[in-house]
Structures are given as C-alpha cells and as structure tokens.
C-alpha cells in the first residue's frame, strides 16, 4: 500500500521541527524553560494524533510493511530511502511517544538545563521514530546511529558527573556497535544494492559472508541490551540518572535492539550463526538471573527498576529467538504495555526520590500518606509484575509458554528471574507502604491533581490494552 501523503516522513520530521522551535524559545530566569517544555508537549501530542491517523489507514492484519514512501537519496553510491510501517512498528512508535510524554510529566518543574533536555528529547524522538519506520537497510542504519548523539548528550548532562568516563564508554561501545552494523550494511549493499529490510530477510548470504553479516548484525544489536558483557556500563549509567525523562529515554535504548532483531531475523540468520544463538540464550538467561538477584538485594530504587527492565528485555530477546511470527506480535503488544508501565514507575520513583531529597527524610511509609500516589504506584507495580491489568499479562503468558516448551530448563530459570524481578518491585512497594513514624513526608507532598488525572489516563490506556491491544483503532 502506497500512501498518497507522506505521513511517515511527517511523523519523523515533526519532532525535528519541534526541536528547531524549542531552540528558538526564550529561556531565562523568568520563563525557566516553560516555553521549551510547552513546545515539546505540543509537538508530541500532535505527533500522537498523526500516529493515530496512520493506525486508521493501516491494514492491521497484514504482516507486510505498508504506506511505503520511497525516494532516491544518493546517486553515488546509489541509495534509495524507503519508509514503511506495520502494526508492530507503529505500536512501538506510539509506545515511545507515550513514554516520553509520561517522562515529561516528571520534569515539569525541572529547572536544570530544561531547554537542552527538551531539544535533545525531541531530537531523540525524531531519530527513534525514523528508526521504527525505516524500511531499507540504509535508513535503518542511519537512524540506528543517529539516535546516539541525543542519547549521549542527555546522559552526559543528566547522569552523574562522576561517571563521565562511563559516558565515554557508553558512546564508544555503541558507536562501535553502529560501525559494525555499518560494515554489515555496506556488505549487503555491495552484494545486492540498496534493498529493503524485507528483502534482507530473503538474502541468500551463505558461508563466510553470511556468517559475518549476521554476526555483525547480532553483535551490534546486542551492544544495546544490558546482556553480559555489556551489562555493567548500561546498568551504571541507568542507576546514575536522577532525571525521570532521561531515565525513560535511556531505558528505551534496548528497545531499538529488540526491534532490530525482529526486523533482521530471517531464517538465514539462524542458519548462519545458529550454533552461536544457543550461547546467546545461555548468556541471556544467566544475565537475567544475575541482574534480578542484584536488583533484589540492592537498596537503590532506580537500580531495582533497572533490573526489572533488563530482565524483561532479555525475556523479549529470547522470545524473538524462537523465530515464531505469532510470538513476535505478542512481544509487540506486551512491549506496548511494558514501556508505559516502566515509564510511569520511573516518573513516580523519581518524584519520591525528589521529595526524599527535598525534605531530607526517608520515603519509607510515604505511600500511606499520599493516597493518590499510592493508588497509581500500586497499580503500576501490579501491572509490571504481570497481573491482569495490562497487555503484559496475556502476551507474556504466551511468550513464556513458548519459551518453556522450547527448552524447559532454560524456561524455568527464566521464570525464576521473572519472579525475582517482580519481587524486587513488590519489595519496594512494601517499603513505601510500611508505615514509618519517622517519615516526614505528608499528604501535602502527594502528586498534584493534574499529575493524578494524567496518570489515571495512562492507567485507562493500560487497562484498555488488556481488553484489546488495538482498542483505539477505528478502521475506515
């Protein structure tokens, strides 16, 4: 299906244009980044409406990329840029937009470099949207690497200053990963020319070239997932970020790798590096168990959320390796709920930490006094651990059953890690609900009515996604 209007280009361009507007926005002691914040919110809402519109004209049953937009980008080398979406990628785009919107609700009163934060957030959003709508090898690589700069800047500015060497490593590892993907892209181009992602999956790359191309693709995506040996620096960066929006954006990074695996995972992929996939599975499961246990014993609430996120991302990765098309769609639906849940949890957690630092007291028992916060936090924790209140429930059940049937021993370890990750979140919830007289946080420290209404809206989205994943789509 070809679109008559360049809607896909528009959803990539709109955040970029928003960024240019933010750049020109006034930012001084009087305005305090409010203009930049408003422009950012407006841009994201406008883009969400556009995405909704695209859902309307999309054939949700089709597995092929739709609304294709193609234009010749370069003559030397001859490269065509092709954009296209399917339900899966569009769902992820919507999830990312909602996650950023939720993240923005957490930085509404931020005063530190608010304008820079908005600029790089919109740039990131533009690049990540481009990544999800990329339908050919070059645009896919282009956006895969391009999103590194806003990420690097956000982490650098809003991560802990002491960990600056870690930022270097973060950038360089990811840059190396991107360069490895670049070399694979160039090899594919050299053999087949500028081709679409769907054609890549049918490429008869065998022998050494097949091994190198698929190995490089695999390695470049793995470099973005907190799986051993890449887990250390990602975890250090995540636990060092105190800005909720920055944390949400950083937590979206493994999503790009998960999506990359789904787009690139053809049958040839398995045949070329099939012997190594089992090792990735083993390393993945060990990392899951390891990080889940560390999260459980760690007292830092940020790290707890990070460990939960990591465990789930690795589960999705292992689900992809089953190479089952139905499971891939389950992963998409589950990811939609998962991203919204982790963003909300992070924003609430960030709020609690901020209050802790402001009043200089422990947050133990805070939820007993802050009813609105308690309601939302409890709901999100229960949704996160897999109770039937969001799309995570059914779809994770299907993914798990598939993984268990594929390999019972590994599946059991995986379930163990998931239980520990869930317990980690419950442990934090219990701590916050354990009424402690020494806690100096009171009812007045509860979230504002505006935030509460917004969070109720988020809860509504989650609940509806449990009833029907694509409930908001009204087909024309």
């Amino acid at each position: 299906m070809n679109s008559s209007f360049a809607l896909l280009s528009l959803i990539v361009a709109l955040p970029f244009l928003g960024m240019l507007f933010v750049l020109t926005a006034r930012d001084d002691g009087v305005v305090k980044g409010r203009n930049a914040f408003n422009v950012c919110i407006f841009t994201i809402i406008a883009n969400i409406i556009l995405i909704w519109r695209i859902f309307m004209i999309l054939n949700e049953k089709s597995r092929e990329l739709q609304l294709l937009e193609k234009f010749n980008w370069l003559s030397t080398p001859n490269i065509d840029i092709v954009l296209g979406v399917d339900t899966f990628s569009l769902l992820l785009i919507l999830a990312v937009h909602l996650a950023v919107l939720i993240g923005l609700s957490g930085v509404r009163n931020n005063l530190y470099k608010q304008k820079s934060l908005m600029v790089f957030t919109l740039l990131f959003l533009s690049m990540v949207t481009g990544f999800f709508v990329a339908a050919d090898i070059f645009s896919f690589y282009l956006f895969f690497e391009a999103m590194l700069i806003p990420l690097f800047m956000i982490i650098g500015m809003f991560g802990e200053v002491k960990k600056q060497d870690l930022i270097y490593r973060f950038f360089l590892y990811n840059f190396i990963g991107a360069l490895i993907l670049f070399s694979a892209t160039m090899l594919i181009y050299h053999h087949q020319g500028s081709i679409t992602l769907e054609e890549v999956s049918r490429l008869p790359l065998k022998g050494g070239i097949g091994f190198y191309v698929w190995g490089a693709v695999c390695l470049s995506f793995l470099s973005r997932i907190p799986i051993w040996p890449f887990h250390y620096w990602i975890s250090s960066i995540n636990s060092g970020i105190r800005n909720p929006l920055a944390f949400v954006i950083t937590a979206l990074m493994p999503l790009t790798a998960i999506y990359g695996f789904i787009r690139f995972l053809p049958p040839h992929f398995s045949s070329s590096i099939g012997n190594y996939l089992i090792w990735i599975n083993i390393i993945g499961v060990i990392t899951m168990v390891f990080i889940a246990l560390i999260g459980f014993i760690n007292k830092d609430s940020q790290y707890k959320i990070f460990s939960y996120i990591t465990v789930y991302y690795i589960m999705y990765l292992l689900g992809i390796f089953t190479n089952d098309e139905v499971i891939v769609f389950n992963i998409g639906y589950s990811l939609f709920g998962f991203i919204i849940v982790i963003s909300t949890l992070e924003v609430l957690s960030g709020y609690i930490i901020h209050k802790e630092e402001e009043v200089e007291t422990s947050s133990r028992g805070f939820l007993c006094r802050a009813r609105k916060l308690s309601f939302i936090y409890s709901f999100m924790t229960l949704a996160a651990i897999g109770l039937p209140v969001s799309a995570i429930f059914v779809n994770n059940f299907l993914i798990l059953s598939k993984l268990l049937s594929a390999n019972i021993k590994m599946g059991m370890l995986l379930v163990f890690a998931l239980v520990i990750a869930g317990m980690t979140l419950l442990q934090e919830l219990f701590r916050l609900k354990d009424d402690d007289k020494s806690c100096r946080l009171g009812k007045s420290d509860d979230i504002s009515i505006f935030q509460f209404v917004f969070m109720i809206f988020v809860m509504f989205i989650l609940l509806m996604s449990f009833v029907k994943p694509l409930w908001f789509v009204i087909n024309e």
């Binding site: 030397t76 070399s183 090899l187 050299h190």
Partner: protein, 475 residues
C-alpha cells in the same frame, strides 16, 4: 593579443591586488582592517567570475591549461577564501591590527594556487612551490610572539628547503629520463616504454613526497601542527581550509595524468603515508590540550582518510575524495568561525580547558560546535556521514576490507578526541566568562549549519556538476 590578456584576467586581477593594496596602505589615511578585506573581496570576486567565464580558455596551454577540472577546484578555492577573508576581517577588527600583510600574502598564495591548479609543465610547480613555501613562511609569524615564531619558521624553512631539493631533483630526473617537462609528453613516454625504470620511479617518488609535505601528511605534518598552535586565527583558518583543495587537485592530476603508468607502485607509497597520517592524526589528537593543535592533528587524520579512499584514482574514488574534502572544509569553516566568536577577556580561546561549560555561556555557539564535530565524526544525519559513506563505499567496492577496518579503528580513536571537546563544553561547569560575540558570526554559522543540516536531505544537488567534471577526468 587583446584576447590573450582577457584570458589572463583571473591571474591579472589577483596580481593587480598587490600594487593596489600597497598604494592604499601607503596613501590612505583612514584605513582599517575592513579596507583591505573590501579590496580583496572585490578583486577575488572578480577573479572568481573571470575564472568561470574563461573556464576553458588558455594562453600558454603548454604551461598551464584551464579546463573544467581546474576551474572546479579554482572556484572551490576562491569561494572558500572569500568566506574566510570575511571571518578573518572580524579578527583584525577585534584586535585592531593591520590586515594589509595578511591579505597581500593570501592573495599572492591564491594566485600561485590558481596557476598551480592549471599547471601542465613541471617547471610551473618547480617555480611556484618555493614561492608558496616562502609565502607560508611569511604568513605564520604574522602578529604573533616573535621568539616562538622565529623558532618554528626557521624549522619550517629548513624542512621545506629539503623538499624543494627533492622536488627539483625529481623533476630533473624526469627531464633526464624523458627529455621533456610537459605532463602530456612524460605520460606518453612512460606509456610507450611500458615498464618504467627505477630511476624514473624514484623521480616520481621525490615529486609526490614533496607534495605530501605541502599537504602536511604524516610524518611531514609537524610544521603544520606547530604553525597552527602559534599562528593567529585568520592564518590558521587559511592554512587549514585552502591548501587541501589545491594539493588534492595536484595529486589527482599527477596520478591520473603524468604518473598513470606508475600508479601501481606509487599507490603503495601513498598507502603508507595514508595509514601513517590516519593513525598519527587520530592518536595524537587524543593527547592534545590545545584545541588548535587538536584540529591540526584532525586535519592530518582527515588527510589520511581521504588518501586511503582515493588510492585507486578511478572515477568513484576521485569523486568520493572530492566530496569528503568539501564536507571537511565546510565543517572546518564552521569550527573556525566558532573560534572567532569565542573570546575571554579580549583573548581568543585556545586551550581545551577554556571551553569548560561553554554551553551555559554560549548555547548557540556550543550547539554549532557540536553539530560541526558530529559532522566531522561522520555520524548521520549530518553531511559528514555522506563523506564517510562515499569513501568507505569506494573501499568496499574495491574489496579492501583491511583498509575499511583500519579506517573504522582510526575513526573511533578520532571520535574519542572530539568527545573530549564535547565533554568540556557540555558536561563541565563554567569556568570563564566569555565576551560578546558579533552577530555576523552567528549569521554565517547559521548559513553553514543550514548547509550541513539541509544538504543531507538531498546531497546530490550540492555536487552534481562537480561529479560530472571529475568523472570526465578519469575516464
């Protein structure tokens, strides 16, 4: 007769600038730095127009020949020089120093470059290269610390003297072996002989080596880096932005024209220089605290990158190298423009430490700096990615996998050096106060940024005609 003089108008215009500037300097009382910029603007603009008008007309075609190819490079050189002269005038106005000598020397160099670009006989470079070296020697110590300048320029003159001797030696050998100094004759004789003897080969090596010295390829790069660390900003910018086009063009002319029968053997030599430049530039840039030295090494690295890509000297590699050079120069113009906007208590910033927290004091300059550096690393979606893509695509199409690997390792090293600057600007607290930046600098930066940001949407329009010209040269 009159027609011949008309054809020589580009060169005559540049030449006539010198006496006019001398007279103005001598007799005009109310002269400022802007006076000489205005003069040079008109003369250079006229020379640019005449170059385009007489793009295929030549007077002494056996000595120098105007063609579409030489015109392409001349237009690039004159345009970049025109832009840089404008920026340079800001420096002279701000410091309230005389700009007469700077503009005169630069116009002299541009005249020499223009003739060198059209050269068809080895006597032309034999005469012009020493002139260029002397002019460079005059340019480096302009308005800077005399003691340090003396030390650096004396080393430069000694080194360049050795390379003049090499150049003259190489040319003499070629004359001895072929009996001619004309490019076309020498190529014809080499092609006729089939196998070229080692004496002629060593002559070619000597000529190419002296060219590499002028280009500041490693290990002959130190004069360039030292000059950048010492010289004033207008000189640094001129030495960084203009010569790459000229020497790239000379290299292409020699390798595709005169030394085409020797290209296989000379490729090995160029390969060694390219790899050495690539790694010396990238590794050394990581160890610099002076930003100008850092960008000096970055130039050496970029030269290595470009040389590695152009080695095969076929149409694809020549176009890729040209694209890479254009994009590199665009980014470097921006970086030097940012330097011109960065003053702390009247002094231009030169140390890496001075950039700490720049984003707080100068957010727009910092953003521009960030964009230019990302473009230099070659990260999409900026124009620099196109340069990287073109060159690496050339290597992949030639199946030079080990070269691709080397480029990527060097690229990572170089990216690390740029990250140090980004870290200082964005992640560290403000340590200095910065002076107000002129509005025209912002305007120029904006235009440059638009070029870098918008051109990536459809890069072909930028260089469509250039590609046709360059393909024609190598076919």
């Amino acid at each position: 007769m009159l027609q011949n003089w008309l054809i020589l108008l580009p060169e005559l215009t540049l030449l006539s600038f010198l006496p006019v500037a001398w007279l103005v300097n001598l007799y005009r009382e109310s002269k400022t730095a802007k006076t000489f910029f205005t003069l040079s603007k008109y003369f250079l603009g006229a020379a640019l127009i005449f170059t385009i008008v007489f793009y295929n007309k030549s007077v002494w075609s056996a000595w120098w020949l105007n063609s579409r190819y030489s015109t392409l490079f001349k237009v690039a050189v004159y345009t970049v020089a025109l832009v840089w002269f404008y920026f340079a005038s800001k420096w002279f106005l701000s410091k309230n120093r005389s700009s007469a000598k700077f503009y005169c020397i630069c116009m002299g160099m541009l005249l020499s470059f223009g003739i060198l670009l059209s050269a068809q006989n080895f006597l032309v470079p034999a005469l012009l290269v020493p002139v260029l070296c002397l002019l460079t020697r005059g340019l480096i110590p302009l308005h800077c610390d005399e003691e340090k300048a003396e030390a650096i320029t004396s080393v430069y003159i000694r080194e360049s003297f050795i390379f003049w001797l090499l150049l003259w030696g190489g040319i003499s050998i070629l004359w001895w072996q072929t009996g001619s100094l004309e490019y076309a004759d020498i190529r014809y004789i080499f092609a006729l002989e089939g196998e070229v003897n080692w004496i002629a080969y060593s002559g070619a090596v000597m000529i190419v080596s002296s060219l590499l010295f002028m280009m500041a390829a490693a290990p002959f790069h130190l004069w360039f880096v030292n000059a950048l660390s010492l010289a004033i900003l207008p000189v640094c910018g001129f030495l960084t932005l203009i010569p790459p086009f000229v020497y790239l063009s000379c290299l292409i002319t020699l390798m595709t024209g005169v030394f085409a029968p020797l290209s296989q053997s000379l490729q090995t030599l160029l390969f060694c220089f390219a790899v050495f430049s690539l790694f010396v530039g990238a590794v050394s840039a990581n160890r610099q605290n002076n930003i100008r030295r850092l960008f000096g090494f970055s130039t050496t690295y970029n030269l290595g990158f470009m040389l590695l890509g152009i080695l095969a000297f076929h149409s694809h590699s020549v176009v890729s190298a040209f694209v890479y050079t254009i994009i590199y120069v665009l980014a470097m113009i921006g970086i030097y423009a940012v330097f011109l906007g960065l003053k702390s208590k009247g002094d231009y910033v030169s140390e890496l430490e001075d950039l700490s927290g720049l984003s707080e004091a100068k957010p727009y300059l910092s953003a521009a700096f960030l964009v230019f550096m990302i473009s230099l690393i070659g990260i999409p979606p900026l124009l620099g990615f196109w340069g990287r893509l073109s060159l690496i695509n050339t290597l992949v199409s030639e199946e030079r996998w080990s070269d691709v690997l080397m480029l990527m390792i060097a690229l990572i090293l170089m990216a690390n050096a740029y990250l140090q600057i980004i870290r200082k600007i964005y992640f560290e607290p403000l340590q200095h106060s910065f002076d107000r930046t002129d509005k025209p600098i912002y305007v120029c930066l904006f235009i440059n940024l638009v070029l870098i940001l918008i051109s990536i949407l459809n890069p072909s329009y930028l260089l469509h005609d250039a590609e046709i010209v360059l393909r024609g040269l190598t076919q």
